[in-house]
């Protein structure tokens, strides 16, 4: 067996020399002749007879050669070389085909991977399809939430759920041990994990009696914390750790893939430990986020209908004027997680499917053009004795080279695109980081490759090469060209749609970046600090720290101004309260509904000067007020105009509801009015806003603050210096330092992502349309070459020929553009919610996109047009 294999391998790799066989055959012939001469036949005749007897020398050689084990491989290699040469001989075609496949496979694979993580990613919960998010909707909070005042009523009386559970949000906490670290602690109800269908990998779940006020402290820790801090110590259960200085017993470890249903970070889970009886009496009670598991066969809609009476109960608790603004919802957990990404993901998937279809049409179009131009070559090969099988084989090989190159390039493009997508994806999608080009994508690319190989090869090879192609031109294929012309027209229309959409988003993004935010971010740095409960347990200690830091920074090198706030415009977190909770002294309360939201911040006097927010009225906060026992506010212009229409706000008094009993709301004096500042995010509208002064009183301070520094020194120097200043006060304190400009740029992540994504598809569509048009024009030119030759023979100039070709492509470009414009006008409405200060029918954008598209398509058809002018009339006439 082994011997035979070695022999096989030896002959597979080495071929016997041809001369050896020649010598062998010559010896045979000589012997044959000699034997005939011996039999008395004359030499010449003997030679002739021997030759006849032996038969075809080539056939014997061929027969011997075919016995070689490596014969097939040799033939295949020969065909492969030939196919490769075929691809290289017509580089424009090959590049077009590879590019089409690359863009088609690459885009769809990358988008599929991203969308897969968003839409189809398995949630890390048991039977996650039955998990829903339940809650109230109110203008103050865009996503559903619950309130302690009615949550327990819902939990006791609900019918559609197996179980209803809640989490009470998370906050930073400190693991106060040898090496203290800042962690995220989330508090959950005892039945939280059980309802989600999650089992701790080590230890046990919370017990009902651990979720009571004053119960002994217990915690579940995340897998990541278990690994990094406790080195996967399996005896972790029962271990007592210190969280915010309190001894807490670890009862278990969460699974590695565990995530909170609202996707917030959580290193430690602790029981809510709410006083249920107190919550039931409270109004509105603690904000909670509720999740439930549907009973089998119950849909979210049915569940919502069954919860109607409970919603009525909650509504009765709300103040009468607000009731009409409160709604409730029951929706799949997945929908809550991706409430705004969802539609975008489907649109993306639609776009990519369109691109893939266009790619397929392109490939078919290119191929037919290719076949038309090679008809003569095929006929020659047939005439020289190539078998149909051999022709088919070489056609398939050639298309395999193109498809495989395209697929490989596509996979590379997909992984590059994916990296770009993930790097650019706006925050809140941490799980995207784990998106990878996986086996399914490779199988997808492979099947596209095989499919296109077969269709390329079969279309090119199976139609019998007509030998009459050698003598006359064939008119076949013209009819099929109509369909392709239609496809190209549709493609041009689709790319115009994409280009117009991309241009609209680009203009919108441009406006977004250049809009007036109402603040000046030049030379402004910020440091965000959140003090730990252990080191700074009281508001006095917190105030002392921040005021000391402010003093230290104030006299630093190049520092112009220093201010403290608890939040920053133009987007992100800030305090909100409803307009109805503000009351001008001596005037009745606002009663028609909530009146919408009013934003507010805690600030220090230098805040307005640091951010360059102009004072319109009054002097703003001064150092005198810092020491005062009275309270002061500065209003934004829009709030002042609303509260004091046509009057001066200065010196007026305002009651601000702060949760104190009715009638005892503290009174604030208005000491200034400032210009409006963008505060609802970059693209959203502005809310009226007011500022409370952080006085030298502990009641005005909390553990969180943003230090705002305006300085003339370069940002990197300042950043280092600020870090050092914070560290000199408390070396263990985490601090986030950066320029205000970076902070604002981060807010533009989502629109930038959307713009780039649509622009990418616009460019892809444009390239595809170019390729498609090129393919069809090249085909038509090939078909009309004899006609072109005749025309040239009769004196047509090169310009005439180019005009002739362009006229035929205009028949695709013009209707495509018109149709595309109409389509874009109709569809751009979809984008209007994403657009900022650009009409969805912006005429400049539409004109620009049309001109770009026409220019690009004309260039694509010029290549074959110029090719047509190289026709030699003599040759075409001879063929005719």
């Amino acid at each position: 067996m082994i011997v035979e294999f070695w022999t096989w391998l030896r002959y597979f790799l080495l071929r016997k020399s041809r001369k050896e066989l020649d010598d062998e055959v010559r010896f045979h012939l000589e012997q044959s002749i000699a034997s005939k001469i011996d039999a008395g036949i004359p030499e010449a005749e003997a030679r002739r007879l021997a030759m006849i007897e032996f038969g075809s020398l080539e056939a014997t050689q061929e027969g011997c050669e075919q016995q070689r084990p490596g014969w097939w491989a040799g033939i295949a290699a020969q065909d492969f070389r030939y196919a490769l040469r075929g691809c290289l001989r017509n580089p424009a075609f090959s590049i077009a085909a590879v590019l089409t496949l690359m863009l088609g496979i690459g885009s769809s694979a990358a988008v599929f991977t991203v969308v897969d993580r968003i839409l189809f990613r398995p949630l890390p919960y048991g039977d996650s399809g039955r998990l829903v998010s339940v809650g109230l909707l109110a203008p103050i909070e865009p996503l559903e939430f619950m309130l302690g005042g009615s949550y327990y009523e819902w939990q006791d009386n609900q019918k559609p759920f197996v179980a209803l559970t809640s989490e009470a949000g998370g906050e930073p906490c400190d693991l106060t041990e040898v090496n203290p670290v800042r962690l995220d602690c989330a508090s959950v109800e005892y039945n939280f994990l059980q309802t989600l269908g999650v089992m701790p990998v080590v230890g046990r779940n919370f017990l009902p009696n651990e979720d009571r006020p004053n119960a002994p402290k217990v915690a579940l820790i995340s897998y990541a914390l278990w690994r990094s801090r406790f080195h996967r110590d399996s005896s972790i259960t029962g271990k007592v750790i210190s969280i915010d200085g309190k001894a807490t017993e670890v009862v278990g470890v969460l699974p590695e893939n565990f995530e909170m249903p609202r996707l917030q970070a959580a290193d430690v889970l602790v029981p809510e430990c709410l006083d249920v009886a107190a919550q039931r009496r409270a109004d509105p009670g603690r904000p909670l986020w509720a999740f439930a598991r549907l009973k089998p066969g119950v849909t979210p809609e049915q569940a919502k209908a069954q919860l109607e009476p409970l919603f009525e109960y909650s509504l009765r608790l709300a103040p009468a004027p607000f009731r009409k603004e409160i709604h409730y919802t029951v929706r799949p957990l997945r929908d809550r997680q991706f409430h705004d990404v969802h539609r975008a993901a489907w649109i993306l998937l639609g776009l990519v499917m369109a691109v893939l279809l266009i790619a397929t049409a392109n490939v078919a179009g290119l191929l037919t053009a290719r076949r038309a131009s090679r008809q003569r070559e095929m006929a020659v090969r047939t005439a020289l004795g190539a078998s149909r099988f051999r022709l088919l084989q070489s056609a398939i090989l050639e298309s395999f080279i193109l498809s495989a190159t395209g697929a490989l390039a596509g996979v590379l493009l997909a992984s590059a695109l994916l990296r770009v997508f993930v790097a650019m994806s706006p925050g809140g999608m941490p799980f995207l980081n784990s998106a990878r080009i996986d086996g399914r994508v490779l199988i997808f690319a492979l099947s596209i490759c095989l499919l296109s190989t077969l269709s390329f090869g079969l279309i090119g090879g199976i139609t019998r090469a007509q030998t009459n192609a050698l003598t006359s031109r064939s008119a076949s294929g013209l009819r099929r060209a109509r369909l392709r012309q239609f496809l190209v027209t549709a493609q041009i229309a689709a790319s115009l749609l994409l280009v117009a959409g991309g241009a609209l988003l680009a203009r919108s993004f441009w406006n977004l970046e250049r809009q007036n935010l109402g603040i000046n971010d030049e030379n402004v740095l910020t440091a965000t600090i959140s003090l730990g409960q252990t080191a700074y347990p009281t508001a006095e200690r917190q105030m002392a720290f921040f005021q000391q830091l402010q003093r230290n920074l104030r006299w630093g090198p190049g520092v112009d101004t220093v201010a403290l706030s608890d939040s920053l415009p133009p987007g992100g977190y800030h305090h909100d309260q409803i307009y109805a909770s503000l009351r001008v002294e001596g005037q009745p309360r606002f009663t028609s509904g909530t009146g919408g939201n009013v934003a507010w911040r805690w600030v220090t006097p230098e805040y307005f000067r640091t951010l360059n927010i102009p004072l319109i009225e009054g002097s703003g906060f001064t150092d005198d007020e810092l020491a005062s026992a009275n309270r002061f506010v500065v209003l934004s212009r829009s709030l002042a105009e609303r509260m004091f229409p046509g009057q001066s706000a200065l010196g007026r008094q305002v009651h601000v509801a702060t949760g104190a009993p009715e009638g005892q709301d503290p009174l604030y004096s208005v000491v200034g009015v400032v210009a409006d500042v963008k505060n609802g995010g970059l693209a959203a509208g502005e809310e009226p806003e007011y500022y409370r002064l952080r006085r030298n009183r502990a009641e005005d301070w909390d553990p969180r603050a943003v230090v705002i520094v305006k300085s003339s020194l370069p940002a990197p120097t300042m950043e280092r210096w600020m870090r050092r200043q914070v560290a000199s006060l408390d070396p263990a304190l985490p601090v986030e330092v950066g320029t205000l400009r970076e902070r604002i740029a981060k807010l533009a992540d989502q629109p930038r992502f959307e713009m780039l994504l649509v622009s990418y598809f616009a460019v892809t569509g444009l390239v595809m349309a170019m390729i498609g048009l090129y393919g069809v024009t090249a085909f038509l030119v090939e078909q009309r070459k004899p006609e072109v030759g005749v025309r040239m023979a009769f004196g047509a100039s090169k310009g005439d020929i180019v005009r002739l070709v362009l006229a035929s492509t205009m028949r695709m470009i013009v209707p495509g553009t018109v149709f595309g414009l109409a389509l874009a006008f109709a569809v751009s409405q979809v984008l209007s919610s994403l657009l900022f200060q650009v009409g969805s029918h912006d005429s400049v954008t539409f004109c620009g996109s049309t001109i770009l598209l026409i220019a690009v398509t004309v260039i694509a058809s010029l290549i074959p047009a110029i090719d047509a002018t190289r026709v030699d009339p003599i040759i075409t006439l001879r063929v005719e």
């Binding site: 035979e4 066989l21 010896f27």
Partner: protein, 114 residues
């Protein structure tokens, strides 16, 4: 167990192996020997002889080397290898079985017809 058709196709291989089993021989000699021994019944066409020789060599059953022929010309001599000898024995067995079987069938039918 090989099927009869395989065996018939492999008949030329069997004849060649059997012929070179006696002594190393060149192509011409093999063709001549088979023709003589079979009393001119079996005439091997060159078109199939050389491909068959090459095939057997590729399979490692025979080995070739250049040597001087009886009339002092350089010729390529084929000789049986060890594996070829085993193969020959196997092929002879199956051939015998086949011809015995065919013989049995033919005898039976002769009895019936007589």
């Amino acid at each position: 167990m090989p099927t009869p058709t395989d065996l018939l196709q492999g008949t030329l291989d069997l004849l060649i192996l059997q012929t070179v089993a006696l002594e190393p021989m060149h192509g011409w000699g093999i063709a001549l020997r088979i023709q003589q021994v079979s009393r001119d019944v079996l005439q091997i066409g060159q078109g199939s002889l050389y491909p068959a020789l090459h095939r057997l060599e590729y399979k490692g059953w025979i080995k070739s080397e250049w040597a001087n022929s009886e009339n002092n010309r350089r010729a390529k001599f084929y000789k049986l290898t060890a594996t070829g000898r085993k193969q020959l024995a196997a092929e002879r067995d199956s051939w015998n079985r086949l011809s015995d079987a065919i013989g049995l069938v033919l005898d039976k039918t002769m009895e019936v017809s007589s």
